[in-house]
């Protein structure tokens, strides 16, 4: 029962979503994408072009270059109020540049941008209601956590005693170290304090660059709770990461950037569902018999076996598998059939899990060049 629920959750498909085309050379650039994503990507949905009053961010064709380097190349982005939107991509994909533009730290070379319903001019200033950080929170090590927040509140013209500093410190779990100098803080504590500083402004759009970087599980839970609460209160959250699992844990929507272009934008579940066949690792009571059953099941392919390293496209994760493990590639339906047949054959299924998550597989497929280009 547990296995079935788990598989179903992994493959649950939600409603509407957007896949934006790569701006140029679509044929060439889409060759390496999974079939479903490639097909969907070519079906550009134009219905989102109309102005949605609930959009916290509406960007069209954002382009930014640094000398000869194209950081952003025609990026479109929609972020609705009350949603957590992940920006994910490999190093150098343009995530930080995009977040910097949202925060008013840079202007675009071309394209249009609306934040919280207002067009953004070519000026280095974010509209009211926008807060966040890129490249780590800006904190002053010679000040205590409380003093950092108090100075920040005073900068905003708020009385430090009335600014809710204790509340935001409690919300991010830093009450115990409120009067310690930031100099001694770990990376995770700094991240949480940076989040607390952003919360002080009661933002309607919160932009966070790698917010869970350096956080331990408890810290991640804190951040998760805070962001979920904010989103529930109507705040749009845009966060970046180079790890799909972080985005998966926090975001309902994701935009994947690759070399400054949008490779995918839409609900996380849709990306997961459209990521194609994924490799699964099965641990059974009788590996030899299970292998025979798998070979006899339609739609199931043996993707790896004992001591066979995996592949980065989803048939493995580079780790070796042990002798009692079977690695198969299958659709959800085929996998369901395999499970039923194993049970019918009297083979106990002790463990069933994706070798890497479907999201990770989709991410790798979207951002890594095809083998013939490597």
């Amino acid at each position: 029962m547990f296995i079935c629920i788990s598989v179903e959750r992994e493959f649950r498909v939600l409603g509407s979503w957007i896949v934006r085309p790569l701006p140029s050379s679509p044929g060439a650039d889409l060759r390496h994408l999974p079939d479903a994503v490639r097909k969907s990507t070519r079906k550009t949905t134009e219905k989102q072009e109309s102005i949605d009053p609930d959009l916290a961010v509406r960007a069209r064709g954002l382009t930014k270059t640094f000398g000869d380097v194209i950081a952003l190349d025609g990026v479109d982005l929609d972020v609705a109020a009350g949603r957590i939107h992940g920006i994910v991509g490999p190093n150098g994909a343009g995530k930080t540049t995009l977040l910097g533009i949202l925060l008013g730290l840079a202007t675009t070379d071309s394209g249009s941008l609306e934040i919280l319903g207002d067009p953004v001019r070519r000026a280095l200033a974010a509209p009211d209601g926008v807060a966040g950080f890129v490249d780590g929170p800006g904190l002053y090590p010679s000040l205590t956590a409380r003093r950092n927040l108090a100075a920040f509140a005073a900068l905003r013209g708020r009385d430090a005693r009335m600014a809710g500093i204790d509340e935001v410190l409690a919300e991010v779990g830093l009450t115990d170290v409120a009067d310690d100098r930031v100099r001694g803080f770990s990376l995770g504590m700094r991240q949480r304090l940076g989040l607390a500083a952003a919360l002080l402004t009661s933002p309607r759009l919160l932009v966070l660059d790698e917010p869970v970087n350096g956080l331990d599980p408890a810290g991640k839970n804190h951040v998760h709770r805070v962001l979920t609460r904010l989103a529930a209160d109507g705040t749009a959250v845009v966060l970046s990461s180079h790890r799909m699992d972080d985005v998966d844990a926090l975001s309902s929507e994701v935009t994947i950037l690759s070399k400054g272009r949008v490779a995918f934008s839409g609900p996380v579940d849709k990306l997961r569902a459209e990521s194609g066949d994924v490799a699964y690792r099965l641990v059974t009571s009788d590996p030899a018999a299970a292998r025979e059953v798998a070979l006899a099941t339609a739609g199931v392919q043996l993707a790896g076996g004992p001591d066979q390293p995996g592949r980065p496209d989803g048939t493995g994760d580079g780790r070796r598998v042990s002798g009692d493990t079977l690695v198969v590639r299958a659709t959800v339906t085929a996998l369901d059939a395999l499970v039923v047949r194993l049970v019918q054959a009297g083979i106990a299924l002790r463990e069933l899990a994706p070798v890497i998550s479907p999201l990770e597989a989709a991410f790798l497929a979207l951002t890594e060049p095809p083998e013939d280009e490597r």
């Binding site: 730290l105 000026a123 002053y140």
Partner: protein, 451 residues
Amino acid sequence: MTVTATTAAPARAGRRIPVLRGYRFELVKLLSQWRLRLLILAAWVVPAVLVSELSRQSSLPADTVFGRWMHATGWAGSLLVLGFVGTYALPLLTSVVAGDVFAAEDRLGTWRHLLVAIRSPRRIFAAKALASLTVIVLMVAGLACSSMAAVLVVGNRPLIGLDGHTLAPADAAGKVLLAWLCALAPTMALAAIGLLGSVTLGRSPMGLLLPALAGLAMAGAQILPLPVAVRAGLPSYGFIAWRGLFTSPMQLSPLLVAVAVSLVWAFAATALAYWLFLRRDFTNVSDDGLVRRTLTVGVLPLAVVYALTIGVLALSVPATTGSSIEQGKLQRSVSTVFAHLYRLQAQELHRPSVTEAQLRTSTFCDNGGGLVAPSGAGNGWRCTVTWHIPGVDATGQAIYQLAVTPDGRYIADGDGPVQVNGYFLVRTPAGGAANPLWQFDGTVDLLATKG
């Protein structure tokens, strides 16, 4: 995909933070640094300790301006400190404050946070410049007030000026205060150079060192035998031009020129720093400084300002194209100082009172025994002073060896007769003191047009 950039639509730009709030924010950050707290504390304490200790010593720092008068009045101690800090301390203090105020954000990686919070690079610049200036002024105020502690130790007594005339305690107090205020102008110029270095060089240590190196180099230039216009065109001239306040009549031209030159440098360096700061790309992590543009945008315009200043000075005061230390100026200065101090000596020796006019002092100076042109700095000057003794038909003569430095200051060392300018003790209100005519300081006005 072709999308037109939005440029004309009205935007609800975020409310920008008033400069005053940013200024407070910067002050909080600056004053939270232990390094700065210690420096401010030192500025308020060390001069008091220094002048108190020096005042108790039997041997005085006679090679420093006003050093020989430290036993006579507390005001001399304050001026001694002013002469010292202008050369060494203020360049270092300004480098620690202004040279680091922008670079610190690079080091901490807090630029983007600051921009998101304040939303205006212009206001950030203004807040930082004002905050660093405040801390620097606080330090200078500390140095000034602390150095005046010598008045409590030594006493609020008359000060002997650089032309030998006596300044009443209240007059001395006012002029000492004015001298410290005038020193703020070159300090501001150094601070502006510090801002420029901090903006252009980012986290590089050179950003921190730039104002210190520039200040020390400029101070060094003042003691080199360079044309006066070359030296007066530097802000460091302001750290010596205050000496003109302690002559009668006051030598105001050097002081006014020094203040004006310092303010021009301060304005030019601040404007360049501002211009460069507004053009910085804060999304480019590697762009923590504009090293490549430092030479072309930072140093070159200042060099042009410097060249223009030299040109204006050279055209308006032709004497500044040389050393401006001439025989006539020196003779007049020595005569004046001698007359004033002769009168002082007469009082201290309880002799009949005499006025400078009655003495009708005149001086003849030669350089290198007449073998060298009678101009320029050096130790070869020898002056013979002649004066008339009231009620007596004879004239007196005294000889002095002069050590003249390029900044116009000289030390006259009595070379006989010993009854006039030899070493012996006299009674003063502060107790026993050396004969005032034995050794004395003087200064010539380098910007005076006539020799």
